[in-house]
Amino acid sequence: MKTELVVIGAGPAGLSAAAAAAERGVRVVLVDAGERLGGQYFRHDGSGESHNRDWATYQQLAQRIAAQQSRGNLSYLSRSAVWSVSDDGESFTVRIRKGERDEAAIEVIAPRLILATGAHDRALAFDGWDAPGSITVGGLQSLVKGNNLVAGQRVVIAGTGPFLLATAADVLKAGGTVVAVVEAHSFTALAANPAAMIAGRHKISQAIELLGALRRGNVRLIDRATIDAALRNDNGAVRAVSVRTNKGIIGIECDVVATGWGFEPNVELAVNLGLSTKVGIDESLNVTVDDNQQTSNDRVWAAGELAGIAGSDVALAEGEIAGAAAADSVGRRGADTEDARRTRARGRRFAKYLLSAYSIPAGWTKHLPNHTTLCRCEEVTVGEVREAIDEFGASDPRAVKLFTRVGMGWCQGRMCAANCADVIRDCAGVETDAAALAAAHKRVIAQPITLGTLAEWDSGAQ
């Protein structure tokens, strides 16, 4: 399949980018791994209704996409996981595996590309985080949004940031029981900061409303505290958590503990294309972009979380800007993007305050007992990684990987590479720089595929 522009990702950024480009007359193929449009933020159950407070925004975007589909400017490929993108200098070849049951292998070729690949939860390791019942906050929320289902009878939500509050409120609305929300910092850190209030008064008052709703829902709100361990029942599943507070350790019974420490951008495709990256203020790896969301490759734009975690408003704005810029590069102009640029500037300012106030605690890995699983796929413990550092002198993620197999399993380091870098910092005092982080994210094949799929593509390409 050939087109003028491929947009990868159908969350807030990808939807607005695809719509903006198609409305300017560019032929667009929108590719997304999910079952429905919307990505993680606008995930929905297909009923047409949602508790999402920005649902009207989604409906507007979905209408814009549908209008461009019926005009023949836009095709949408759902359930389509991109496992590789290559660039021959003129055009990009996007290779897709359709559906988890391998329905088809598809190839899309286009001279221009917009990456809007989003992010996933940053999950910090703790003793028992690999027990059934320990999930990410995003995982808990995706079940509520996508399936109207609350995992567990008694849920504890822990980590840091306002996403914990939003998800707890979603669980209550869906009829679930949240026993406690455990926040590493202060629930009201931003309200005490006048500069943050100016940048994001609306967001801060939303968080305060959520706190009120959670109190009324009998949720125990514990701040300046972290999960120390998940305790297991006879089947090995979560039965309780121990929480480290400034008044000592307390135990809370639960069958699900959902943790999240902000988000990690999905940068694999960007890194494979050799795009410039930098380390963001939250220490995650971000794709470097200019004012028009253009990356270091002048035929590739990046919009949304992979250009720096800043939330859905900024993602929507960056998508509009990227879509307009991609159209502009082939001489197709439309309305100016001044509104989107103002939203982006304001949103990025607020994101800086948010990410600084709700950061990952320095030295967090020092508390981990040696038997804690660090790499979930290859079942490598924190102790084995410490040994590779202390005994064998490994001082970067790649060396640790070679000694221990950390990051060599199916998730390709998505869950553990950042945690491994933090263990190295806490043990050896060595910070992992952008180049080493990028190396940890570099994968020739971005999604596990079968040899059959690979062979099918190979024979088709000849």
């Binding site: 049951r101 996933h120 690999d130 289902l149 995992a151 998730c411």
Partner: protein
């Protein structure tokens, strides 16, 4: 919404049509459906959005399907999986 039937390790279960495989299992009280290669440890859903590959399951004899992404079909036969089938 209509209901569909499936089996998990031989046990008959029901769920809402359109559910993901993970949601279908969790709504039936199943939290673990895979055991790990080295330690034989139980695993189920973790990231919930297709990134961690912890929720792999065998469906109709096809191994290594991400339960969090795949939508369950009427009559599906689900089996818990030991390790990662492709590497056996």
């Amino acid at each position: 919404m209509s209901e569909i039937r499936f089996t998990f390790d031989g046990v008959e279960m029901r769920t809402t049509a359109g559910s993901t495989v993970a949601a279908a299992l969790i709504s039936n009280g199943v939290m673990a459906w895979r055991s790990t290669r080295h330690n034989d440890a139980p695993r189920g859903l973790f990231c919930g959005i297709g990134q961690c590959f912890d929720c792999l399951i065998t469906i109709n004899d096809k191994a290594d399907i991400r339960a969090c992404l795949d939508v369950i079909q009427n009559g599906d036969v689900l089996s818990s999986q030991a390790g990662v089938r492709d590497e056996d």
